[in-house]
């Protein structure tokens, strides 16, 4: 029972991270119908920026570690958001009217560029996240001792997802994002500045992805410059699982994938966890080709 409970929480923590990254894929796909292959590398940049900022905030010793962590977390999200926005300007906007394949090639190029940039700046070795800032408290839940960092990661990802969901569903700008995703021309006729909405999506997606990168650093304690590839692939899987382009789908897909992975590595085999995760993806896509929450829009003519 204890193992199941701990693995469930572990799955939710990892799944929350997948979900945050998956949101970036799915939102960009929603408005541009483009898979942003550089998204995983933005996540890596978030992890490295978080480490650098935490290390250099060493002098802020008088502040409580959690406060420093929170401030750095917000800074990382904002900085990576900025990188994402610049990426769109430099690599995607000039190709907006070109064919789809050009943008895909540009995305792959951007991915290689970012990955190598991180490698050249930091070197091709593993980095350990600064221990001083790692929350080491524990919490008792139902008689089980749960590491505080695990709860923090789950709470942070749920909070971010809730905030995003409210923004998309309840605000005027959120409605404009949905409208652009459904029909760009019609959105233009409403007086929506589509370029601005796309820029905004390239702020939000990478912002969440960068934050997720830092969460991995804090949760596992180590990072390397290729992490964007493996997490990106998983998150992309999660986005497909939930239905690409669908925001609640990405959240559900991420959490589900995390839990499946954690439970299968605990009860079946650690080595098979990826295979099982992808097997689930294949099974779900056979039954529901549009993903769990992906819908076919019934547009009558």
């Amino acid at each position: 029972m204890e193992e199941f409970f701990q693995q469930l929480l572990n799955g939710l923590a990892v799944g929350g991270i997948y979900a945050l990254v998956a949101l970036g894929y799915t939102m960009v796909y929603g408005v541009l119908k483009l898979i942003n292959f550089a998204h995983g590398d933005l996540f890596t940049i978030g992890a490295y920026l978080g480490m650098t900022l935490l290390v250099s905030s060493g002098m802020a010793g008088s502040l409580s570690p959690l406060l420093v962590l929170l401030v750095v977390f917000i800074m990382v999200a904002l900085l990576v958001a900025l990188v994402g926005c610049l990426l769109e300007r430099a690599a995607y906007r000039p190709l907006r009217k070109a064919n789809r394949l050009s943008a895909v090639v540009s995305a792959l190029g951007a991915s290689i560029f970012f990955q190598n940039a991180v490698m050249l700046i930091y070197g091709a070795r593993l980095y350990v996240y600064p221990e001083d800032w790692r929350p080491d408290f524990t919490v008792d839940i139902l008689g089980f001792t749960v590491p505080g960092v695990r709860l923090l990661v789950i709470m942070a990802s749920l909070l971010l997802m809730f905030a995003l969901h409210s923004f998309i569903q309840r605000t005027r700008t959120g409605a404009a994002i949905r409208a652009v995703a459904i029909d760009q021309s019609a959105a233009r006729l409403m007086g929506i500045n589509v370029d601005r909405i796309i820029s905004l999506v390239f702020l939000i997606g990478p912002g969440l992805g960068g934050a997720a990168g830092m969460m991995v650093g804090i949760y596992y304690g180590q990072i390397d410059f290729t992490m964007g590839w493996s997490y990106g692939l998983k998150a992309f899987t999660a986005a497909i699982l939930g239905g690409i382009g669908n925001i609640p789908g990405a959240m559900l897909g991420g959490l589900l994938l995390g839990v499946i992975e954690a439970l299968s590595s605990a009860y079946i085999s650690m080595a098979w966890k990826d295979a099982i995760a992808f097997l689930v993806l294949i099974l779900i896509l056979i039954i529901r080709p549009t993903g769990l929450l992906g819908e076919r829009v019934a547009d009558k003519l």
Binding site: R172, A175, R178, A186, A187, R188, L189, M190, G191, V297
Partner: protein
């Protein structure tokens, strides 16, 4: 210069020229209809006014100021909205959300609520279905929604592209009645239609487009009586 004026507008899609230098004028308070066969350039004309396609040469002016040099969102802000061909409602959003998006450029919530009430009085069906997803509406209801959504932007000029397409005759009549009602509220209307007879009965003036050229321009009454128009577009 007229209220809304197109001067020698050419529009190209790649290598194909869809409009070969058309000129039109619309005075404030008019209903002007644009007639023509499929592919004559009617929709392209409306899209060029809304700024979704840009003229390769020529100019479009509203109250003497150019529209062809500004962005589509600024054109909406200037008071020109469109109910596009094929309705193009946001299918996975509710009727109310669709209507609210129509007022995207406006920031006076109270006034938008008044407009919303007016639209619900024009189209009571939309009120009944306000929380339903737009994609689940019937064709006629979607057309009402598309027009209502364009009205939410409090337009001074309303561009309607084929509002009768695919609708039952009874519904067509009621939509055209509503267009007249909208016009009586002071909204200038540019109406693209296949249903030439109904459009000419409603309009003050009309233009006839043929493969990207204006071939006729006259008062609606004269066009209705014109033997060439009767043969080509009225089927008699």
């Amino acid at each position: 210069m007229a209220f809304l004026e197109l001067q020698n507008v050419c529009v190209r899609y790649g290598n194909v020229e869809a409009l070969h230098g058309i000129s039109m004028r619309v005075e404030e308070g008019e209903i002007v209809t644009i007639l023509g066969a499929n592919g004559a350039g009617k929709s392209t004309t409306l899209l060029s006014i809304s700024g979704l396609v840009k003229p390769s040469s020529g100019g479009i002016f509203f109250e003497g100021k150019p529209l062809h040099t500004i962005h589509s969102f600024d054109i909406v802000k200037r008071g020109i909205t469109q109910s596009p061909e094929g309705r193009r409602v946001f299918g996975t959003m509710t009727v109310l959300e669709n209507l609210q998006l129509g007022a995207f450029t406006l920031h006076d919530k109270q006034r938008s609520n008044t407009t919303l009430e007016w639209i619900f009085s024009l189209f009571p069906r939309l009120l009944e279905r306000r929380d339903q997803l737009a994609g689940t509406l019937s064709g006629g209801e979607q057309q009402m929604l598309a027009i209502g959504r364009a009205l939410m932007g409090e337009p001074r000029v309303l561009l309607l592209d084929e509002p009768s397409l695919g609708l039952a005759p009874l519904l067509v009549r009621s939509i055209f009645e509503t267009v007249r009602e909208i016009n009586q509220r002071g909204v200038t209307v540019v109406l693209v239609e296949q249903n030439a007879r109904a459009a000419l009965k409603l309009a003050t003036r009309g233009y006839v487009l043929e493969v990207g050229n204006v071939v006729m321009e006259d008062s609606a009454a004269s066009l209705l009586a014109n033997p060439q128009v009767r043969e080509a577009y009225l089927g008699s």
